[in-house]
């Protein structure tokens, strides 16, 4: 099987730094989902698709840890972050208004790896999994890569970043749990069909871990390399605390510095999860 390892990627990361940032806009996209635009010139200049920033949302002492967010898009000196309100941190983020200041540590982590010669890519997103794939789609399109995108969501209003993908992709397929948009059913079904009738050089996926695992299994079945972006609870974000570990064939890896993007074949999926259907 062809593989695209880090050293072959056409992109090179820059060193992370602590950066003061300010909110440019904070828009509610759907129930519990928002898009915040941040003025973050250093991160905007250096971030690679699939990398994340570690944001200190509150300087209070009620909650103290940073929150990691994939960079969804870059526009000039601004970065965009897609978020879902899940706890105290994202609730506080949803309440931020233009002009408010925060800071971030970033850009962090390994991004998506792109090999020279990649011509056709399949991007598979589940729910908020569109977050790290937006910038990737734009960058791949800029390199002349033909992109197909499959987006899965619970219902139509939660199909995120559709406009972005429709702008840069050859083809966008949507699947919703309730059938309110696109096909009814899981995005993994769409993925399977696309993999069987199209030939791709690479599959990039992000979403719920079980979904990513299924996508990876299907990609492996047709001998196409697959990169996954894994989410873990994280404290430091820079490789020190060992909170965000991922079991891999090469031992314990840290999602924050060795990932969040991993070659799917490297990952030893959580044995407590349901095995994927074949």
């Amino acid at each position: 099987m062809r593989r695209c390892m880090g050293e072959e990627s056409v992109w090179r990361p820059v060193n992370p730094a602590l950066e003061r940032i300010s909110v440019v806009a904070n828009e509610r996209l759907a129930e519990g989902v928002g898009l915040v635009t941040l003025h973050a010139p250093r991160a905007a200049a250096g971030v690679l698709p699939g990398q994340f920033v570690h944001v200190r949302i509150s300087r209070g002492t009620d909650f103290i840890l940073r929150r990691p967010f994939s960079v969804h898009r870059v526009s000039g000196e601004r970065i965009e972050i897609l978020y879902q309100v899940l706890g105290v941190g994202t609730r506080a983020l949803a309440e931020k208004v233009a002009g408010e200041e925060m800071d971030l540590v970033g850009p962090l982590g390994s991004g998506w790896r792109v090999c020279e010669g990649t011509a056709r890519a399949l991007l598979v997103a589940g729910g908020l999994g569109v977050a790290p794939l937006g910038m990737l789609a734009e960058e791949l399109a800029g390199r002349g890569v033909a992109i197909t995108v499959a987006i899965g969501a619970p219902r139509e209003e939660r199909v995120l970043a559709r406009n972005l993908f429709e702008r840069v992709a050859r083809r966008v397929e949507i699947a919703t749990d309730d059938g309110s948009c696109g096909l009814r059913g899981p995005v993994t079904g769409v993925c399977e069909r696309l993999l069987s009738d199209g030939s791709f050089d690479i599959v990039y996926t992000c979403g719920p871990e079980l979904m990513q695992r299924k996508v990876a299994t299907r990609a492996a079945a047709v001998d196409i390399p697959c990169q996954v972006s894994l989410e873990r609870l994280m404290a430091c974000g820079i490789g020190a605390c060992l909170s965000c570990v991922v079991r891999t064939v090469d031992g314990m890896k840290r999602a924050c510095v060795d990932g969040p993007v991993f070659d799917a074949q490297q990952v030893l999926w959580d044995p407590t999860e349901t095995p994927p259907e074949h």
């Binding site: 060193n15 992370p16 730094a17 602590l18 200190r56 002492t61 009620d62 909650f63 103290i64 840890l65 940073r66 105290v88 540590v105 873990r232 609870l233 994280m234 404290a235 430091c236 974000g237 820079i238 490789g239 020190a240 605390c241 060992l242 909170s243 965000c244 570990v245 314990m252 510095v257």
Partner: protein, 300 residues
């Protein structure tokens, strides 16, 4: 700004708390390591340890719970990678030593005695996240004394013993460890705690219980540093929720000779530099000549 720990003179009293700073390399983009009093490394054991299952952390009010479980690649890999990297950095290195048995602790020290570039050891008898060893040695005077005695025989380098707050009387443990020849004491390690997810009814940590760190535990840590430094004659390294220079001053006023910054490194990776600068400014603004004058200077 210098302080003395046993025979070791540090350029300032600001250390890193074990397990929050790896071996410093991860912070090289954010910190001038040469400006730290010392780097205290992540716990090192004789053989590689995998650590605990995920989730290993949970955020709590003004702090966090962790149950990492001392994941580390073992002392040989530590020497090959971490110590080799630190050899080019002009900062004293204190290696945190972990074990499942007395022989395990001693084995790590004996291996490290063959290496240059180790200024001393911090013996971890206080980790709440491992089944055998760890805190089991730190909650009973005789066991704490036994580990200390064996480690003392193995080295003439600085020997620090790190104590747990999860005991009825930390002063008794401190005295037992001092009596066996510890050069200094580190306190406190994390406070045992837990948290439950009310949506799933499941504990937030895979191991159910873990250690609380961060500002939430600072008052407990201060009280214990005050008690212990009044009861022993060896220097105390104070830690537990230090986020700022003022927090560091507070620990010194109650009796700490040096301080260690832990969880704050996760929140602001540059925090140790701010504390080093802030301590100097604090003393300068008040005409305090030596930072060591702060130690035990709390007024009645």
């Amino acid at each position: 700004m210098t302080v003395k720990l046993g025979g070791l003179e540090l350029r300032n009293p600001v250390l890193t708390a074990s397990g929050t700073f790896a071996s410093g390399r991860e912070f090289a983009d954010f910190v001038e390591l040469e400006r730290l009093g010392a780097v205290v490394t992540k716990g090192v054991s004789l053989d590689p340890w995998d650590g605990n299952a995920s989730p290993r952390v949970a955020e709590t009010a003004s702090g966090m719970l962790n149950s990492i479980g001392l994941q580390n690649p073992g002392v040989d890999a530590f020497c090959e990678n971490d110590l080799a990297w630190l050899a080019d950095v002009d900062v004293p290195v204190i290696v945190n030593v972990s074990g499942h048995s007395v022989a395990g602790y001693v084995g790590v020290i004996e291996r490290l005695e063959r290496e240059t570039g180790v200024a001393g050891y911090e013996v971890n008898i206080s980790c709440p996240n491992v089944d055998a060893g760890g805190m089991a040695f730190g909650t009973e005077c005789s066991a704490a004394a036994e580990v200390t005695r064996a480690c003392r025989v193995a080295t003439t380098r600085l020997l620090v013993v790190k104590l747990t707050p999860n005991v009825t009387d930390i002063v008794q443990i401190a005295r037992a460890v001092e009596a066996e020849g510890a050069d200094a004491l580190s306190l406190i390690n994390t406070v045992l705690g837990m948290a439950v997810d009310v949506e799933t009814f499941r504990p937030k940590l895979s191991r159910v219980v873990g250690g609380i760190s961060g500002p939430a535990i600072k008052p407990i840590a201060l009280r214990m540093v005050w008690q212990v430094s009044n009861a022993v004659s060896v220097p105390v390294i104070g830690m537990g929720g230090i986020m700022s220079a003022d927090d560091a001053v507070e620990f010194m006023l109650v009796g700490a000779t040096a301080v260690a910054v832990g969880t704050a490194n996760f929140i602001d990776p540059t925090v140790t530099m701010r504390i080093v600068d802030g301590l100097a400014e604090f003393c300068h603004a008040r005409g305090i000549e030596r930072v060591s004058d702060l130690t035990g200077a709390m007024k009645a």
